[in-house]
Symmetry: C2
Subunit: 149 residues, 2 copies
DNA sequence: ATAATTGCAAAGTCTTTGCAGTTTG
DNA sequence: CAAACTGCAAAGACTTTGCAATTAT
């Protein structure tokens, strides 16, 4: 499994290893994509990954990024999240959390996935609805931007 | 189908009137689109609106649906919501609520928008983050589907 | 060797836009 | 009549896919 509190380098390594273990192959493209995801603290768009990777491998095509992303999702290593503002980001699955997304400065702060546990319990007790845990993005103004109008 | 027909009729009328009041024009296309939104209990995709409307007005183009939707959003009558499963729906703004979306049977249940007030207060007090109210969709299994596995 | 993977080009969604003709006020 | 609105076609953003060439094992 992907390592917990180790260096990013090791984490990339662990994920590549997991791909290999499951019959996939170790390639530069995959390494590059995984590196960006790991480095990015857990929330990047496909496009951001592509541009980032192209700095080192200009020949890399977006389709390869999407295919790598698909592979990582199939392996349950990466999760695709659709935010309430319509944007789409990818992040490591062992790094689940909600987000505070500032609409003004674009900053993204992470929040424990447990934040909504109370609400989820209520939905179960009250409606019998079993929520499937999904990282959510709350949009609004961060502390800084809320102060200076 | 004809149960609430009349009150819906009036609601459509009111919205058309509001468009006119603000300088817009009363057209059949708009009336048809608005009718579908009003009838649909508050959550329809652009595509669903288009197919619905085309039953009566086969010549209606999707672009007109999108433009009408844009107009209604500009007038703050309709809201566009991006759900966490990647789907996009439109609903009347005066009818704000969260949703319980069953991944199995596709049912959508409405919840008071106040559901997350506690969480929002916490985010404000704890992080100084001012959440902009947005209807969210919680995905999972509804009571019925949760029982029969 | 041989099966997985990639780059490229093309296609598929969903949504928006330019334009010329039509309709509303 | 003038401005607003519509249909149609085309384009744009984002994502997926077919295929021949490349690469990892």
């Amino acid at each position: 499994m992907a390592g917990q509190g180790h260096s990013h380098e090791q984490q990339v390594e662990a994920i590549l290893q997991e791909i290999v273990d499951r019959g996939g192959r170790r390639t530069m493209s995959r390494q590059a994509v995984i590196r960006v995801i790991v480095d990015s603290h857990g929330h990047v768009s496909a496009d951001a990954i592509a541009s980032q990777v192209k700095k080192d491998f200009p020949s890399m095509d977006v389709s390869t990024v999407y295919r790598t992303l698909e592979t990582l999702r199939d392996l349950d290593i990466v999760d695709r999240v659709y935010f309430a503002d319509g944007s789409t980001v990818y992040h490591l699955k062992d790094h689940q959390h909600h987000h505070l997304c500032c609409e003004k400065c674009g900053s993204i702060e992470e929040l424990p996935i447990t934040l909504l546990e109370g609400v989820e319990d209520l939905l179960l007790k009250e409606f019998g609805f079993r929520v499937k845990q999904r990282p959510l993005g709350f949009f609004g103004l961060c502390a800084k931007c809320a102060q200076m109008p």
